[in-house]
């Protein structure tokens, strides 16, 4: 039997029942992620695309869309050195990178490279960078 509600503890320590949302969030919940997917799909016609929000791995508030890892497999990358491939991705996401996206990890492979090594790289552990960042204001968690 599927649980229809999940239990949540509010500040009053009493249990509250909240509706359980489906695991896949709607695009409206994650506008930046949706936009990234759409733009990369449109400009690079990838045969394989993965977009991961890694904000939760970093010192940012819950629900942030600031740190992303993308894997783009596209024939558009044939013959291009890595830096040119990454520039194509950066260009496609220029708006996002000028906006809320603070960090973007990129893997850009040709279909041949992907088939010989179908793996997603892992991000290095956060070293709390944004806590040391004079340019960023972090919203403190609501207690």
């Amino acid at each position: 039997m599927l649980p229809l509600f999940r239990l949540a503890r509010g500040p009053l320590t009493s249990l509250r029942l909240l509706p359980l949302r489906a695991c896949s969030h709607t695009p409206m919940d994650r506008p930046v992620e949706s936009s990234i997917r759409a733009k990369l799909s449109r400009t690079l016609a990838p045969t394989h695309l993965e977009v991961r929000n890694e904000s939760h791995l970093h010192a940012v508030p819950a629900g942030s869309e600031s740190h992303f890892r993308v894997l783009v497999v596209s024939p558009s990358f044939e013959g291009l050195p890595l830096v040119q491939r990454h520039r194509l991705v950066n260009e496609a996401l220029r708006e996002e990178l000028a906006g809320s996206v603070h960090a973007l990890s990129i893997q850009a492979k040709t279909p041949q490279q992907w088939s010989s090594d179908p793996s997603l790289a892992k991000s290095p552990p956060c070293m709390g960078g944004l806590k040391h960042d004079p340019g960023m204001r972090l919203r403190s968690d609501r207690e």
Binding site: L82, V83, H86, R87, N90, R94, L97, A98, A103, L104, S105, I106, Q107, A121, S123, P124, P125, C126, M127, G128, G129, H132, D133, P134, G135
Partner: protein, 160 residues
């Protein structure tokens, strides 16, 4: 005041005094230059253009090689360390917001860290990591006249 700042900074560059530059020895043996406030007055192109050519290996990171303040910047530092590259210029973008934006404009690259070899933009931490993994980094360092420590490590392995 702009003209005054131009003259002041130019004078410091010529005389080589430590007025606006802080040069401090770092445990690994290389030297980090921290350029404070200079970028707010100089046109980015000329100043950064010179900076990236002054040393064979130049990195713009968050924090310092001794104390990186970001996992991605740390990855760059660790990779260079693995290859035994200890003599490189490292600039801390957290110390100067003008430098931080200036280098993004100059490189036309939206993120930090940024790596330069012989005045040429190489990429960020993803690219450096891939170059390290596929052997390209050893080759590129060789072209710079830098012998990667990993070559010696491999030789030791083969002797056993």
């Amino acid at each position: 005041t702009m003209n005054h700042l131009f003259r002041l900074s130019a004078g410091l560059l010529r005389s080589g005094t430590a007025g606006l530059y802080r040069r401090g020895p770092v445990p690994e043996g290389h030297v980090s230059l921290v350029v404070a406030r200079l970028f707010s007055s100089e046109p980015e192109n000329s100043e950064l253009g010179q900076l990236i050519k002054k040393d064979k290996v130049v990195v713009f990171i968050k924090g310092t090689p001794a104390q990186p303040m970001c996992g991605f910047s740390n990855a760059v530092v660790q990779i260079l360390r693995m290859h035994g590259v200890d003599d490189y210029a490292s600039y801390n973008v957290l110390e100067d917001q003008d430098l931080r934006q200036g280098v993004k404009n100059f490189s036309n690259w939206p993120t930090i860290p940024q790596v330069y070899f012989n005045g040429e933009f190489v990429g960020g931490c993803d690219i450096l990591l891939q170059m390290h993994q596929n052997g390209d980094l050893v080759e590129e360092l060789k072209k710079l006249g830098i012998h990667s420590a990993l070559l010696d490590a491999n030789k030791d392995e083969q002797k056993k």
